[in-house]
């Protein structure tokens, strides 16, 4: 695989609800400044936001990495959190391990991963209990993407 055209990293703090969403928002602004197609930016921004919130809420914080390649833009959300023990279950709409406190502020509907799935062309999750989670998401760039 050839080197990415551009790579950016955004740091995400655990339970920092004041800044939560900032990584996705900064990434979205960057892609808009670069002039990418609006629909592509929308899809990436939603995927980034849901992955970021999962790191804030479930993953002990982490890093969001964006790479622009010729054919696609890749987002990798990487954390050293507790990992996901049953990935199939986690992918089901409605499944959530979020606490009551988290649900009270509007998270924990178990819709984040399904939302990501709908927005991206590729979703890969590597995780092991106790060893963190790496969520890789890609959105393909068509000929009119920029």
């Amino acid at each position: 695989m050839s080197a990415p055209l551009c790579k950016k990293e955004f740091f995400v703090q655990e339970f920092d609800f004041e800044h939560a969403g900032k990584a996705a928002s900064d990434m979205r602004k960057l892609l808009m400044d670069y002039g990418f197609d609006q629909q592509i930016v929308r899809r990436l921004a939603i995927a980034a936001y849901e992955a970021e919130m999962n790191m804030v809420i479930h993953g002990f914080g982490g890093t969001l990495i964006m790479e622009i390649n010729f054919e696609y833009i890749e987002l990798v959300a990487k954390d050293n959190g507790p990992g996901i023990s049953d990935l199939k279950l986690a992918m089901q709409e409605g499944f959530s391990t979020a606490s009551d406190e988290i649900r009270e502020i509007g998270f924990g509907a178990g819709m984040g991963l399904p939302n990501i799935k709908r927005c991206v062309n590729f979703l890969g999750i590597e995780t092991k209990p106790g060893q963190g989670t790496v969520v890789t998401m890609r959105v393909d760039l068509g000929p009119d993407a920029i």
């Binding site: 996705a24 919130m53 502020i105 509007g106 819709m111």
Partner: protein, 122 residues
């Protein structure tokens, strides 16, 4: 596209418009539900007060956010709304009454320029 006089609400900051152009409403308090189902140009009625409501409004390119039931947005939420240019309002109306009010008071908008930059052909 519809136009709405926002008088049953109060703008959360001084330079927020008194009128909003919009295309429908969504009433919900689950953020990832709003992400899945809100549509560009809608007004979002919610009870949450924290800054993440603005993050969702930006992601979904919503026309406005109204915090219902007499709740007060956090100062950081107001700051973020100003920064992101999302019109944010508060109201003592309950969500259902507010939705009813909106449904019976919106008017056909002749111009298509809105705070969210929604155009008819998208």
């Amino acid at each position: 596209m519809k136009k709405l006089d926002m008088s049953p609400t109060a703008p959360a900051s001084a330079n927020t418009a008194k009128e909003v152009c919009f295309r429908g409403c969504i009433v919900c308090d689950i953020l990832s539900y709003a992400i899945a189902h809100a549509e560009k140009g809608q007004i979002w009625i919610t009870h949450h007060t924290h800054p993440n409501i603005i993050a969702v409004a930006v992601l979904k390119e919503l026309a406005a956010v109204i915090v219902a039931g007499g709740r007060k947005p956090d100062p950081e939420t107001i700051r973020r709304a100003e920064e992101e240019e999302i019109p944010l309002y508060v109201t003592s109306y309950q969500a259902y009454d507010l939705a009813k009010w909106i449904a019976s008071h919106d008017k056909e908008a002749d111009d298509m320029i809105t705070a969210a930059g929604v155009s008819e052909n998208e």
